[in-house]
């Protein structure tokens, strides 16, 4: 995954990175003297062009624990004034009217409640996958989960062919016009309680297919998404992290803005 080191971002690097980003995961508002950069990891197709154009500020992180429960963790904004970057990293979230971050205590309670609720799936989660319009990269990596290298069954995770037996729906790809009905029918066929994991940037922000004329709506406007796994495609370990995060068996670690290692 790509991560932004806000402490090393300069307006010049921000403009250079935004100039090479093919999916608008990095956008700059304003100019060199006053402006802000918005980085959306949920749109990042990992082409690494920003890493080559602005190696100080953007770097590839190899940690597999990149899945998140809130899309806000995948978004960061850095502002600057008079050519100087605001080092705080995410301060501008409030300026632009983005949803404010819940207070620390509130967040802790929500997390704890979620973990308790998900205990019902502890050590046995049956997964149904729906390809809603992918390039087959995400399917290839999902298939790897069932191979000896990753062996998801050792964690109590199983693929199931029928949605009637499924606890968790993994969705890949942009939702195309011709897959939306099948996707919704599959979700409705699953018994409650159920989880939804959006895997891969196409299922998150749309990635490079965000503007496809065949895309209906973003996935999280169609189904309630519990966990977002970025990546193009997400690696098998990232997918495992996403599934464990969904059941409260792993922690959320990734932040779009960080100091890397």
């Amino acid at each position: 995954m790509v991560q932004l080191d806000a402490s090393l971002l300069t307006p010049e690097l921000a403009i250079a990175a935004a100039g090479v980003c093919p999916t608008d995961a990095i956008t700059v508002n304003g100019d060199r003297t006053e402006g802000s950069l918005l980085f959306e990891a949920g749109q990042c197709v990992m082409c690494a062009r920003c890493v080559r154009a602005a190696p100080d500020a953007f770097h590839l992180v190899s940690e597999p624990e990149v899945a998140v429960r809130s899309p806000a963790s995948l978004r960061t904004r850095v502002g600057w004034k008079g050519g100087k970057a605001d080092r705080s990293g995410r301060s501008a979230d409030l300026e632009t009217g983005d949803a404010p971050q819940p207070a620390e205590e509130e967040r802790r309670l929500v997390d704890e409640l979620h973990v308790r609720a998900m205990r019902i799936f502890n050590r046995s989660l049956h997964i149904r996958h729906v390809d809603a319009g992918s390039c087959n990269g995400c399917e290839a990596e999902l298939q790897m989960l069932a191979t000896p290298s990753y062996d998801l069954a050792r964690l109590g995770l199983f693929f199931t062919p029928t949605p009637r037996h499924a606890d968790c729906l993994v969705v890949t790809g942009i939702v195309t016009q011709q897959m939306e009905a099948a996707l919704v029918e599959t979700y409705e066929a699953m018994p409650n309680p159920k989880l939804v994991v959006a895997a891969g940037v196409c299922a998150l922000g749309g990635g490079c297919f965000a503007g496809s004329p065949r895309r209906t709506r973003p996935l999280d406007r169609i189904l309630p998404v519990d966990v977002y796994v970025p990546g193009c495609p997400p690696t098998p370990l990232a997918l495992l992290h996403g599934l464990l995060l969904a059941t409260g068996r792993a922690e959320e670690r990734y932040r779009a803005s960080g100091t890397g290692r």
């Binding site: 093919p22 999916t23 197709v45 990992m46 082409c47 690494a48 062009r49 080559r52 590839l60 149904r128 996958h129 729906v130 390809d131 809603a132 319009g133 992918s134 390039c135 087959n136 990269g137 995400c138 399917e139 290839a140 990596e141 999902l142 298939q143 790897m144 989960l145 069932a146 191979t147 000896p148 290298s149 693929f159 062919p161 949605p163 993994v170 790809g173 942009i174 195309t176 016009q177 011709q178 897959m179 939306e180 009905a181 099948a182 996707l183 599959t186 990635g207 490079c208 297919f209 503007g211 496809s212 004329p213 065949r214 895309r215 193009c232 495609p233 690696t235």
Partner: protein, 510 residues
């Protein structure tokens, strides 16, 4: 053997200057059908598509022939909305013409079954229920009604688009008479993302991102085919080092993709240990790709004019050891599979695709080669680093699942030998400078794991894409799938058939 230019001249068609290695022939709308039929008889029809122009449309047919590394492009301007169909003379043109009708609304008069190929009609698809067809086109249901399959105990079984396991979305309508698989109709297009359309008006390097995401398992092959089309159209030079690196990475992709296909075939015959072993090899190949480029599916390393960054030296060092191990293990697995009677029996005579039929449809890749279509664009139209490399191409005549698997096994060995040859070559970081592109139009091609992928790119004077046509191997090979399934197989053969074809849905749907 005569070249494409001679063939065209013998038919009374005159060639005009075009991109190097390409023969461009302009003809009228009235001549188009006969010219395509004549050329298809003497060579391979590699693609047929339409392009919207200021004053109507342009039809383009692309041909190749054994013994000529170039391509022949036949173009005809179309003023109206109809033309006379090529399909009655050249059956391999059928799905191309259906796509032209579907996308551009140009109706090929005389087409025997003008069905949609990817778009399911005005309404969103609801599997198992009726759909409306696009104006002027029949729907699949109408075909079922006008040409129903009848017989004692015949029933139909729909499968998909959501199928078991993590698989691509596609719908298959099985017609069975108890045990016999009478007919399988694949119905694709669920994943249609309009990839080619999205590239229009973009700079080439921005559209490259889309080409790399045509299909995950053929990321690099489609990437280089697109990049080469842009480089040839825009007159950009690519260094020898970058060409070699491209060949190396393309072979790495063939390895992980073929290992995956072999794992699926082993799994479909119930050999879980063999499947696990091939999946371990696949994972190691993917990790090898990541060590070379930073991405398991080789995304982001390619650039117009060369490579975006150097191939990692550490990855190359690691690879020289891995190749030896992979060769030993894949040879051992091959011997075990060939010595397992249940495996060989299961594949032998399953889903036979006759050689004549394969030739009539101008098949590509391992599926074509297993049915005697001896074509491989690495050898027939050398590109990237392939002219200086030594490798063999295996074509078999049986056309059954066993032949397809043997072609895959052979190609794994050849890919390993190509990687070894390339590791001996000089590698200096082939980083591309941002090239300036001229206006032009050219073809680009590559041998993807599934077969030849052929791209056409038109660049305007500002270096933006005005038309991109991608014809990946799955766009050709899906055409014959139904026929192969109906060659006297059982319902229980179906997983074996699907695994032995290893066709990508994402490539077809685009």
């Amino acid at each position: 053997m005569s070249g494409l230019r001679e063939i065209a001249e013998a038919m009374g068609l005159s060639a005009v200057p075009a991109a190097p290695g390409e023969v461009l022939v302009e003809c009228t709308e009235a001549e188009f059908k006969d010219a395509v039929a004549g050329l298809a008889e003497r060579g391979f029809l590699s693609d047929l598509f339409a392009t919207a122009t200021d004053d109507g449309h342009r039809l383009t047919a692309v041909f190749s022939t054994i013994g000529d590394p170039g391509w022949l492009r036949l173009q005809a301007r179309l003023a109206g909305e109809t033309y006379s169909a090529v399909t009655p003379a050249v059956h391999g043109a059928s799905w191309y013409e259906r796509e032209i009708a579907e996308v551009f609304g140009l109706i090929p008069h005389g087409h025997p079954a003008l069905l949609p190929v990817r778009l399911h009609g005005g309404e969103p698809a609801k599997f198992g229920r009726r759909r409306r067809s696009r104006a002027g086109m029949e729907s699949i249901e109408e075909l079922n009604e006008t040409a129903p399959i009848q017989g004692q105990g015949v029933f139909q079984l729909p499968l998909g688009p959501v199928r078991s396991g993590p698989q691509e979305s596609a719908h298959f309508l099985f017609t069975s008479g108890g045990e016999d698989l009478v007919m399988v109709r694949p119905w694709l297009g669920y994943k249609h993302r309009a990839v080619e359309e999205m590239a229009i008006g973009r700079q080439a390097d921005s559209a490259l991102i889309l080409a790399e995401r045509l299909a995950g398992t053929s990321t690099f092959a489609n990437g280089i085919a697109f990049a080469q089309a842009v480089e040839r159209a825009g007159e950009v030079e690519v260094s020898d080092e970058a060409r070699r690196a491209r060949a190396l990475l393309a072979e790495m992709e063939r390895l992980h993709s073929h290992f995956a296909s072999l794992a699926k075939v082993a799994d479909s015959t119930g050999l879980t240990v063999a499947a696990a072993q091939y999946n371990l090899l696949r994972e190691e190949a993917l990790q090898g790709c990541a060590a070379l480029t930073g991405h398991r599916y080789l995304r982001g390393i390619l650039a117009i004019g060369g490579l975006a960054g150097p191939v990692a030296a550490g990855g190359l060092r690691e690879l020289s050891g891995s190749v030896v191990r992979w060769r030993r293990r894949s040879r051992g697995l091959e011997e075990l599979l060939e010595g397992t009677a249940t495996f060989v029996d299961r594949l032998e005579t399953t889903a036979i695709l006759a050689s004549e039929y394969a030739h009539e449809h101008y098949l590509v890749g391992p599926v074509g080669r297993a049915s005697g279509v001896d074509r491989d664009s690495r050898r027939d139209h050398p590109y990237a680093g392939y002219p200086e490399l030594e490798f063999q191409v295996l074509a078999k005549s049986q056309g059954d699942a066993l032949a397809r698997v043997r072609v895959l096994l052979f190609e794994v060995g050849e890919a390993l030998s190509l990687v070894e040859q390339l590791l001996c070559a000089e590698f200096v970081a082939g980083v591309a400078a941002q090239p300036s592109l001229k206006a032009g139009s050219a073809l680009g091609w590559a041998e993807a794991p599934g077969g030849e992928t052929l791209h056409l790119v038109d660049l305007d004077s500002s270096g933006r894409i005005s038309r991109w046509r991608a014809r990946p191997p799955a766009a050709v090979n899906w055409h014959v799938y139904s026929h192969a399934c109906a060659s006297g197989n059982n319902l229980t053969d179906y997983p074996v058939i699907e695994a032995s074809f290893a066709l990508s849905v994402a490539e077809f749907d685009r």
